[in-house]
Symmetry: C2
Subunit: 596 residues, 2 copies
């Protein structure tokens, strides 16, 4: 397997050239204070060194070794503790954190690149900083000042690690039916009792303490989702002076055997009257949780992207080295027994698909991060509202479309290796196994699609979609004489089609067809994702096309070529998706249960 | 995980109702002698019992245990030896074998169903009877009478097991560059020396002897594929009286760690001057090997199908049991905390996709087996030639399209389980890991696509494709008033489109575009596969539609509904594929190697 290298050139292209972060950051005072392009560049450089030099070399062995559970303790694979320590000491655990409590205050656009590197180097490990950051966001937004002061500094410092505890054996998607109970104590704390499953890094040996954010219900809480509250439950109780006190009644009962991300611990967590503190308001736990979830969902999209990038890098290296058969156009390396397989059109097809999806995914998640930053940091109310709408609309697409395409990308990367791709030592099969979870957790991709189609589209009469389309139309109008002009007509057609399909589903759903949203959802999310990637490729082409005569011409011409490949060989899938959506759900719903 | 049950009702539907095997078998003397519908039925019944009762229960544990290598010996997971013995004693290892040498002489259409059951129950194990059958076919067609008499009876009896040894570390797809040498001895035997890798069941403890079919080159052989010969190399030498003699110089150096089919041994085989005997003519080894490979390729398609069927059965059972959220149309089981997830449109979508692909795959592989039977058993020269053309055309599609759709099906099955699908104990993730190899071995799916597009289509000017289309057009003309009429117009459009795309690629390739075949191949194979599945669904609908008022109405109406689902929600993908193919390969080939 080729050594992973952080794709710094591509990251800088997206940040500095496509999205011109210098202008954005300078225009928002709180960001102008925290970061500039030079600082960002130094951060990228340093993160790339840690990812490639310290973390990536652990990935293969860690998958074989896995985490080990014994008597409630979880020990991590060799090297994990050291890299965790390295990240903690470098301040990386609080990279996007609130500076008031010790965070570094970096914008999500930059943090996204750091996350991609961590996930590319080792997804099982990368879950740890990702979950910690998500837990911190939730605390920062919703916890009391006292809780924030007590917990955030150590979590940003990585001394303590965050975990989120939502799922129960009978309740995953449907959190309304959870059974974990929180009973109030006189001192304002709660006793939390129940069993949570699938708790990633719920227990481990990398940090001094683990801070669980736990969904539970008060004894007299209303039934369903409106009776859920969020509690902070530390593994080890924290004294008033900040020192560690007694062990709390939180234990890890076992860890799961999984398809992939084997080096991460997926824990069954038992709370036996564990002491916890309310985060946010009573019975508003789902809202607090969703602050964290939306953050994580963008993170999960980036996970898929990172692993797909690692897959691409290995596949390219293998395709250039592996000699097998001759080019259909005649011998390319006549002195050798065969040509490198990169000469074969079908191998190129697979590599080009990886490029087309991965690079669009990087641009798209960075674009979503841009809206996250504006919604968080802008002083302009109207701009913030617009940004919030876009975050709401794009989050499920970032999570689900990037991960669906990441799996496809990694399957192609594995296929490039032929039989060697199926053997563990080459690492390609691990990437497929690892990526597969990203389509499932933090809300399955089907749930993301329901969110996009239902809450984010039908429920507001398609307003957010129209806003998004208007932005892309404005882009097209502005690029009549750039290299994006080549793609303008196709993109314009795609927008018209997206609008038409959106209207058709809204009409059906509002006319009382109860299954209209569910029957359309996943295909609609893919349609939306393809259009979004087409927008990203047009944006990248516009920038690259202006620099074809400059010093880095090979880099820019590759962007234009990959844009063409995307438009010609992948984007036509929107035709099929549209037709499928418009066909409706009758054939999907017609069978009686007993006919299955 | 639900217990696997052989889908006997569906198999009988395909055999007896869709393809009316009674008429076919009665019309071909050698088949009429060997089998009738009642015999076939009894065989299906008994095979189903072994698959569900004896083999399937081993599958999960065997995956965890894997095969163990020590000092050249491979021990198999618990229970494998016993099931192997059960199959051997029941004559199953020679089910399709030549009766002159002790085989049971059953047609491939029936054997295909047996194979599906074995693969569904445990793919890692199922490779053993499959490879044995393939090796026997190769010997039966190409070996000398003496070799056949000496080896086939024990191989059909399962006392000895067959293996095929083709790949070398530097030579997979490109067998022309193999280095294994065969030096002639005075007694007519050869000394075979070299290293083979990825040899499935190359060594194990289930049979007394292992008969390797090994590709090697004579010292003075022509370079490239025209210098390859095939040799029979037994693990233990066989005396003239048929008893076992000395150990041959064949050893298993190690076994691979793999993504899936972990309970099968994938061996590195070392031949150190091992004694072997020529099979077929010198330097015609590839032809002998392809007899076996074509047989195996249909078998690999059926592997994918079998595992996808197992995935579907589990997913349906889980979807009916798992309670989570409420139907969008209102509570279905108000007395419970939530509704079973099968009420949700997106869960149904996934299950319907599994049905649509799996059932079409079963019909399609049986249809290909029908042509294999006619090509092998018919006395009519013209019919045999037609059948050989169809076998040549359809084999790569059966191998690659069924396995590609099987992976998709199993991924959907896993997705139905949410987080539980990622945990090993439920078995769904194993099916995904296992199926993944079917897209890679016996010629990657990309190689299958090159075979279909190049050798089977462009090289004969599209003759086979026209023959196939003509058959489907005749079917449409005959079904103007059956339930297939509903699909006639769509199917007709698909045929016209397939013809047009075929002509366009042929025109481009014959005009000298060296990359035209490779650039179109995989998308073309998928286009061809979708049209073939549409044909199968129309055939199934024609039969089912006539029986909607009979005793098994639920069964037949489900067929019609699933056909509609396929036409409305999956078949539109041909639009995208066609557009992609017609866009050509320029953007695919434009990057210089260093730009990757």
């Amino acid at each position: 397997m080729a050594d992973y290298q952080a794709p710094l050139r591509d990251m800088r292209f997206v940040l500095n050239e496509v999205f011109e972060v210098d202008q954005l950051w300078a225009s928002i005072p709180r960001l102008a204070e925290a970061v500039d392009v030079d600082t960002a560049d130094a951060i990228l450089e340093e993160a790339g060194k840690i990812a490639a030099g310290s973390l990536a070399p652990l990935n293969r062995e860690a998958d074989e070794a896995g985490c080990q559970w014994q008597d409630g303790e979880v020990s991590t694979p060799e090297g994990f503790k050291e890299v965790y320590q390295l990240l903690a000491e470098g301040g990386w655990m609080g990279l996007g954190g609130n500076p008031e409590y010790g965070g570094m205050g970096m914008p999500k656009m930059l943090v996204a690149q750091f996350e991609e590197m961590m996930q590319a180097a080792c997804m099982a490990f990368g879950l740890s900083p990702m979950l910690n950051a998500g837990a911190c966001v939730s605390l920062d937004y919703h916890a009391s000042e006292a809780l924030k002061q007590k917990y955030l500094p150590n979590m940003y410092a990585g001394t303590w690690a965050g975990a989120m505890d939502l799922t129960e054996p009978h309740a995953g998607t449907d959190l309304g039916i959870i059974r974990t109970k929180a009973e109030p104590n006189d001192d304002g704390s709660y006793n939390v009792t129940g069993t949570k499953i699938f708790i990633t890094w719920g227990e481990h040996d990398m940090a001094e303490n683990i801070i669980h954010l736990v969904l539970a219900k008060l004894p007299d809480a209303p039934a369903g989702p409106k009776g859920i509250s969020l509690f902070l439950v530390p593994k080890i109780l924290v004294n008033d002076d900040g020192s560690l006190g007694e062990r709390n009644a939180v234990t890890c009962g076992s860890i799961e055997k999984k398809m992939g991300i084997k080096a991460s611990a997926t824990c069954v967590m038992n709370f036996d009257g564990a002491k916890g503190w309310l985060v946010g308001e009573l019975n508003k736990g789902l809202a607090c949780m969703f602050t964290m979830m939306n953050y994580e969902r963008v993170g999960v999209g980036i996970q898929g992207l990172g692993a797909a990038e690692a897959s691409y890098q290995s596949a390219v290296a293998y395709a250039k080295e592996r000699l097998q058969s001759r080019s259909p156009a005649g011998k390319v390396q006549p002195e050798k027994a065969a040509d490198p397989i990169i000469v074969h059109p079908d191998v190129r097809r697979m590599l080009m698909i990886q490029r087309a999806y991965n690079e669009a995914g990087r641009a798209f998640s960075t674009y979503a991060a841009r809206w996250l930053d504006i919604s968080k940091y802008s002083d302009d109310d109207a701009q913030r509202t617009k940004a919030e709408n876009m975050v709401a609309l794009l989050t499920p697409v970032v999570k689900a479309f990037i991960t669906d395409k990441a799996l496809e990308s990694a399957i192609h990367g594995q296929q490039v290796f032929g039989g060697h791709g199926y053997i563990r030592e080459w690492g390609q099969e691990q990437l497929v196994r690892d990526i597969r979870i990203t389509q499932i957790y933090e809300g399955t991709n089907g749930i993301q699609a329901m969110d996009l189609m239902g809450r984010k589209t039908v429920m507001n009469g398609g307003e957010f979609v129209r806003e998004y389309i208007a932005e892309i139309e404005a882009f097209i109008a502005e690029n009549k004489s750039t290299a994006a002009a080549e793609f303008a007509m196709a993109l314009s057609d795609q927008l018209a089609n997206l609008q038409q399909v959106t209207d058709a589903v809204i009409a059906k759903a509002t006319a009382g067809n109860k299954h209209a949203i569910g029957a359309a959802a996943v295909d609609y999310l893919h349609l939306f994702g393809f259009v979004s990637y087409a927008y990203m490729w047009a944006k990248m082409a516009a920038v690259a096309g202006a620099k074809l005569d400059g010093p880095d011409a090979d880099f820019y011409s590759a962007k234009l070529t990959t844009a063409r490949f995307f438009y010609q060989r992948l984007l036509p899938q929107t035709r099929a998706l549209s037709e499928q959506i418009l066909a409706g759900g009758d054939s999907m719903m017609a069978l009686a249960d007993h006919q299955f």
